[in-house]
């Protein structure tokens, strides 16, 4: 491998590591955050919805740039057994419960119960824009963390697969620091799942991408009808409050 390829790989990896956190912080100062309450004055579009859409657009643009610049060839049409897509859908459906279980376990260790959790106010609102934004953000995150991150670490830099999965999962989790440390742990856990799906699914990013999209759609469309459960972005703010109570 040439010095240029190695330098380019490391540069792309570093630049692609924490876009979500930066965009959330920036948008918090521009449109009131990606989940902020609407102002008292009537508005055409809820500022929270605007924030989610802007966040997704920024993340998709970054993922596109990273995918084009990374020293790798994309092979989205590589053969993948259909059963891996079925496993991805199943994992996507189970991921919210997995995250809820992780949060409950962490709080149980602290001798606190996870209270009944209301969903984020944007979830269940029937907003197609919010669902589309969540789908777009999920696709962008998979391209960034599994499609490029995991691939470069494992195939270009020669890291062991387990180490590459662990690092990309932790970095993916840390991109949710905005929501608090508990969410970081939850996301790192599902990040391991997405990474394993990527490896087992023949190094095709479409497999974890399907799982991630399913997870976000379940959280935003199905869970509100089932009475609410903490997961993905919808429960993150509530969980942050829970974490704050737990740590105070």
């Amino acid at each position: 491998m040439t010095t240029r390829t190695l330098s380019l790989s490391v540069l792309v990896l570093l630049c692609a590591a924490f876009p979500a956190q930066a965009f959330r912080l920036t948008l918090a100062g521009v449109v009131g955050g990606t989940g902020a309450r609407a102002g008292a004055a009537p508005r055409r579009l809820d500022r929270g919805v605007t924030g989610q859409v802007a966040f997704a657009v920024a993340l998709i643009a970054t993922a596109t740039l990273v995918a084009v610049l990374a020293p790798m060839r994309w092979d989205l049409l590589s053969p993948v057994g259909w059963h891996w897509y079925a496993v991805a859908v199943a994992f996507g459906c189970l991921a919210p419960a997995l995250e809820w279980g992780a949060a409950a376990a962490v709080l149980a260790v602290r001798h606190r119960r996870l209270p009944g959790i209301a969903l984020h106010r944007l979830a269940g609102g029937g907003s197609v824009l919010v669902v589309l934004a969540a789908v777009g953000a999920a696709a962008a995150e998979e391209v960034l963390f599994r499609g490029v991150g995991l691939h470069l670490l494992e195939r270009v830099l020669g890291w062991p697969a387990a180490a590459a999965v662990a690092v990309t999962a932790v970095v993916y989790g840390l991109n949710h620091l905005y929501f608090g440390p508990l969410t970081v742990a939850q996301k790192a856990l599902t990040g391991v799942g997405f990474g394993v799906l990527y490896l087992l699914g023949g190094h095709n990013v479409l497999v974890p991408l399907v799982a991630h999209v399913v997870q976000n759609v379940v959280v935003l469309t199905l869970l509100p009808r089932m009475g609410g459960m903490s997961a993905e972005r919808s429960g993150a703010r509530v969980l942050r409050r829970v974490w704050r109570k737990g740590s105070s």
Binding site: T3, L11, C15, L177
Partner: protein, 253 residues
């Protein structure tokens, strides 16, 4: 490291020390500052509050250019060789990605700082750094130009002359970036007054040193790194000033 690399490192470090000393030491005492301010203001008609922002910037820029010239001479480097950039769509995209990445990594570093110590005031710390406070005393349009110009000179010295010189001697990329980045970071920290200022500037300096160093290595020119650093400095100086208005307003007159 080869003997040439050691000599170039020693020369660049000496040039860095001389540059910072030229900028910092002559006006360290308040009494001296007052006398210089009055003398310059009375002879040039420049408002008193603009004397040190203008004078300090001029000294910093001239010092950086002189330090760069010394290292270019010592390393037998070509100015055009360092600046020549064959612009390609890939290179332009990489410049954009590096600018985004520098902001993202810095934002993450600051978020981590907040997570560890929730009560720290990062914008206040940044705008409280003396040279930034002085810049904020200038009219609004100059608040972009001055940090951008200073950043351009810093970038040319540390990633152009220093890093480029080390790479030309055959020093491994990681070591060359580490050495030039450590000198850059130490220089930024030396211009701070509090531990928080030092932490914040050190974090952002490490981010810039690594990303811009890699960008120079990939593109073979310091120009894209200058663009990244200049836009980063101009943006963050403004942002910090807006978010820490009470501190920015307390500019010495």
């Amino acid at each position: 490291m080869t003997r040439d690399a050691v000599v170039l490192t020693a020369t660049a470090l000496a040039a860095t020390v001389a540059w910072l000393a030229l900028y910092r030491l002559p006006f360290r005492r308040n009494r001296t500052r007052q006398r210089v301010r009055m003398a310059v203001a009375s002879r040039t008609g420049l408002p008193g509050r603009y004397v040190f922002p203008v004078l300090g910037t001029l000294i910093y820029l001239v010092g950086g250019v002189l330090a760069s010239a010394v290292v270019l001479y010592a390393g037998d480097l070509s100015l055009t060789g360092l600046l020549a950039w064959h612009v390609t769509p890939h290179g332009a995209g990489l410049l954009l990605l590096t600018a985004v990445g520098a902001s993202a990594l810095t934002a993450f570093a600051m978020s981590t700082l907040y997570a560890v110590r929730p009560r720290v005031d990062v914008p206040g710390a940044v705008s409280g750094v003396r040279w930034i406070t002085e810049i904020l005393a200038l009219p609004r349009r100059w608040r972009y130009a001055v940090p951008a110009a200073s950043a351009a000179v810093e970038e040319f010295f540390f990633r152009g002359a220093f890093l480029g010189g080390l790479l030309a001697t055959g020093t491994p990329v990681w070591l060359a970036i580490a050495i030039s980045g450590a000198a850059f970071t130490a220089g930024q920290v030396l211009l701070t007054e509090t531990a928080l200022q030092a932490t914040v500037l050190a974090l952002s300096s490490v981010v810039l040193a690594v990303l811009c160093g890699l960008l120079v290595t990939v593109e073979g020119s310091v120009l894209p790194a200058i663009a990244v650093h200049a836009s980063f400095a101009a943006y963050y100086t403004q942002t910090s000033a807006r978010r820490a208005a009470p501190v920015a307003a307390a500019v010495p007159r």
